[in-house]
Each structure stands twice: as structure tokens, then as C-alpha cells.
Symmetry: C2
Amino acid sequence: MTATEIDVLGVGNAIVDVLAEVDDDFLVAEGIAKGGMTLIDTARASALYARMPPGVEVSGGSAANTMAGIASLGGRCAYIGKVAADQLGAVFAHDIEAAGVGFATPPLVDSEPTARCLILITPDAQRSMNTFLGASTFLDSSDIDADLIAAAQVTYLEGYLFDRPEAKAAFFAAADIAHRAGRRVALTLSDTFCVERHHAEFTRLVAEVDILFANEGEARALTGEADFESSVRALAAHCPIVCVTHGANGSVIAAEGKVHPIAAAPVERVVDTTGAGDLYAAGVLYGITTGHDLPTSGRFGSIAAAEAIGHVGPRPRQSLKALIGA
Amino acid sequence: MTATEIDVLGVGNAIVDVLAEVDDDFLVAEGIAKGGMTLIDTARASALYARMPPGVEVSGGSAANTMAGIASLGGRCAYIGKVAADQLGAVFAHDIEAAGVGFATPPLVDSEPTARCLILITPDAQRSMNTFLGASTFLDSSDIDADLIAAAQVTYLEGYLFDRPEAKAAFFAAADIAHRAGRRVALTLSDTFCVERHHAEFTRLVAEVDILFANEGEARALTGEADFESSVRALAAHCPIVCVTHGANGSVIAAEGKVHPIAAAPVERVVDTTGAGDLYAAGVLYGITTGHDLPTSGRFGSIAAAEAIGHVGPRPRQSLKALIGA
């Protein structure tokens, strides 16, 4: 790709999701907090998988889902993330390339297997994620392709990845390359637990970020504010564009002293909220990078999120381009 | 399991399905005959997969789907089939065990990978299957557990498996063990191409079979009869119970000189016909082995098939036991 060819470059944990429907009792018996993301080790992954119902395997990973969403909207994008040289790694690589997203990160050989996220969907369509990170955490600065970052209008970083020192260094390096090239950096806070675990560094990273994504819990965790509106204002003081989702209430986008309320798009049947936040970010980033105003970009985000909520799995199954009427 | 514990034992190709939605032009460009099953080699599997859209991985395999259906109906069942000791093999083993089906066939080590079926779903909900058999064909007589066969009311064999000489020998061996133990043998013809390729041996095998499953095309291919009714009569002359599906028209079950018409069950939205025949067999076999008459068993088959047609993937997602009102 040449310097003018990319709208958004995503950087994140390359993960294959294993989705299964369970009842609330299963979460209680397994001690799983509903709606959150928990990192699990090999032993826990084996034990939990053995007790899970039959599953469906689909490619996932937060930033990867967002890139698949942007591609479905008609945007040009690429992805950097680490799989292993194994069957699930091949599945991940196939799926993201087949979605129209450039992907060339070399796989990890003879080490950890491709990351898996055991996602338990309860009858209320809520998803509870249990992530075995495997190969995905072996992404380091050598995988951060400076030419690709310089070629992307926006480099989008996933907070989930912000854990190991090498990955943190890669994040700051990516932000530095982007800004030197006159490009923008976007970040999703990803999870309340991530924010709490790396609070000081997230605060420092947010200061480098041009477009920030968070949900209400993450916004409050980072700012320490007690309510939604205060947390949005606090983030907007540090960051040019702040997008905060508010569940079924929709979202707000704060920029240049204004707060734009964004309505949620109607969903015929709420099936599985996996990927809703990822596709919201896809719609907003597509809108911003293709010259739309913030309320329109927010509307694209709501439409994309609604599509994800209407089926099992985190990536779009319908053409998002058609859904936004483009 | 002890001798009284199993209703049905399934023997078949252990396969993980890769499902993707395509338009009719894709089938034409790839030279794929709609609705059929084509065996493909490693090179073709790689080339076709590379051109396929993003997929969903779910455990499949015709007889394995049938066993998952019987378990969902509340029946007791087990499965014999060969996966490799790899990630997709682990997925297959997890899913069938988690569905409540006994599975203890040792995996193939250091040889071919687990079988995959690339299933292309067109907008008319028809599925076109491209099967890379991999490890599944390495099932041989040593995997046929005589105690398990003797413990099962019915041993259900999948015609797809009936290809290599070792597998054919395993089929006849299984039928012999079952009959010596006073048990019944069921067979599905699986595919018109299978029937045509091994016509003489299928004819010989059918003579050993107590319960036969076929669709219209397979019934006509085996009997050489030109129409549906004649092919049913011809099969019924050789086999005590003959169940022949007739697409949206439902099916018939012929036994003891009578032909019972079985109505199709209503389907709210036809999404994907993958697994419809497999779950029809599940309903019928569950009915027969739990003492129901043939019209009732047929009705269970229609209800189970309708469930499979209403979603992507070949195995039940709702409790079939609840759907039949048991």
C-alpha cells in the first residue's frame, strides 16, 4: 500500500473467539463476572473449555473486528497483530484478509498457540469473555511497521493489548511515528479492568491520543468521576475527540467544546452484544476518515453496532456500506 | 457404558465445517455443483479457502451431527470417527462430548490434519460442500469397538465414509458384530455421487441394513428407478425400514408393506439447509429406539430437520427434546 491508500490501521490482540450459549447459573458456577473480560491461563482455559457447551469458532480480537467493520463500510484498512503458525492462526489470517483488511504480521513459530477468547453468551445477550492470550502478546516493536503507520490517516490502538512492557513500548512508539508523519492516533480503553490495572500509563497514553473510545465504566474508571457526563467532560479536557458509549442509551461524541448526543440504532432482536463496541468504533472512524461530521460519524457507529448485536459473532454479516446507505 | 446404555452408535467422517455465505456467481466461478458434496485434495482446499469469504467454524460430520441431534432429543448415543491430534480435532472432540455424545476414538498423530468441509451457503439457503477428508479416512477396523456396537440398539453408518477399502471392511465388520449381538444396523446413503461411485458395494451393504436413510436423488441412483415412489418401493423390497426425504415435501417411511407419508415441519425462515438430513435421521432413530411408531418417529425427524434449517450450522441450537414436546 502507498502513503495515500489507508484510512485506518488497527493494532491489537489477534484472537479467535469460541462462542457458546450458557445460562446465568453457568457463570455463577464458574465464578465469571457477567459482561467483563478476564485473562485466563492455559490450565484455566482447558478446564473452562471442557465444561463449556459446544461452541462456534469465529475470528475476533477487538481492533481486528473494528477493521473488518471499516472494510465492510468501504474503508481501506490494515491490521497488525500476532497469531501462531497453527490452524487457528490460519483461520484468523484467512478471515481478516477475506474481509478486505491488509494483514502481514509474521506468525509466531514454535511457541504459544493462537489466542482464544471463550465467550459465554447468556439469554440476556450479554457476553462474558475469558481470554487466553497465547501468541497475541508476543507482538512487539519489530512488528510495528512504520511505513504502514505513516500511510494511515488514523492508527487505532486497542487497550487490551496494553499489558506487557513490550506492548506498551510498541504503543508509544506507534503514537510517536504517527504524529511525526502528521497522522492521528485513536485508542479504545477496551475494559474497566485494563484501565484500573494500568491507570497511570493509560492516563499518560490518553494524552497522546487524538480520538478516544470508551464505554461508561471505562470512562469513569480512568477519570475517577462518579457519573457519565462528568467523565465525558473530564476526558474531553485531555483529548480532541472523545466517543463514549452508554449501552442502550446510545453514545456521545465530545469535541471542540461541544457534546453531540448520538442515538442508538434500532435492533430487531438483541442476540449477542459481542463486537458492538468494536463496530461502533468502526462506524465512527470510517465517518471521520472519509470527511463526515461527528454526528454523522456517530450515526454510522450506531448502525454498525446494531448490526453486530443482531447476530452471534463480533464481525458484520451484512454489508455495512449498504446499511448506512452509502 | 454398559450393554443397556446406548440407543444409537454413529460411525462416520469426523469433520469440522467452515461455513461461509456466497452468491451463485461464486459457485459458477469455482465450478461447484450446487447442493452436492465434492471431495477435494489439499491443494484445492487451500485454493478454495483462500478465495472464500470469512467463515464460521463449527463441528460437523453427517453421523456426528445425527448423534448430536439424538443427544439433544434425550437419547443416549456414542460416536466413532477419526480426528487428528490438532486444534480442529480438539474442537471436534470438545463439541461432540459437550453435546452429550460418548466419543473415545484415538486421534491420528503425525499424519493428515483433521478433516474440513468448506460449505458455501447461497442466498437460497442451499449448501454446497467441498470436503477435505484428511485424518477422517484413517478410521479402520481397529477403531470399531465391538463392545460399543453390541451395546447399541442401532449402529448408524454414514455412506460418506464408505470409500477406502479399510473403511468398507470396517462397515461390513460393524454390521456383522451388530447382527450377531441381535442389534440393528442403519445406513444413510449420504450423497448421489457416493452411491454412483460404489454402486455394487452399496447394493450389497443395503442388504445388510435394517433401517435405510436416503434422499430422492440417492434413492433413484441406487435403484435406477425414474421416480420417487418407484425408488421407495424398490428399496423397501430389500430393507425392513426405508426413510426417504423429499425436500420441502417432507418424507416417506416404508415398512411392512406400508408407506407412511411424513409432513415437513414449518420453518419460519429457511437460513441454511446444512444438517437437515442429518437431523431428520436423528429424529427418526430417536423415535424408533425409544419405542415410538413410525409416523411419530417421522414427525420427530421433520421437527429436528426444521430446527437445523432455521440457523447457520448443522447441529441443533435449541433443545430438540423441548421442540418435540417430550
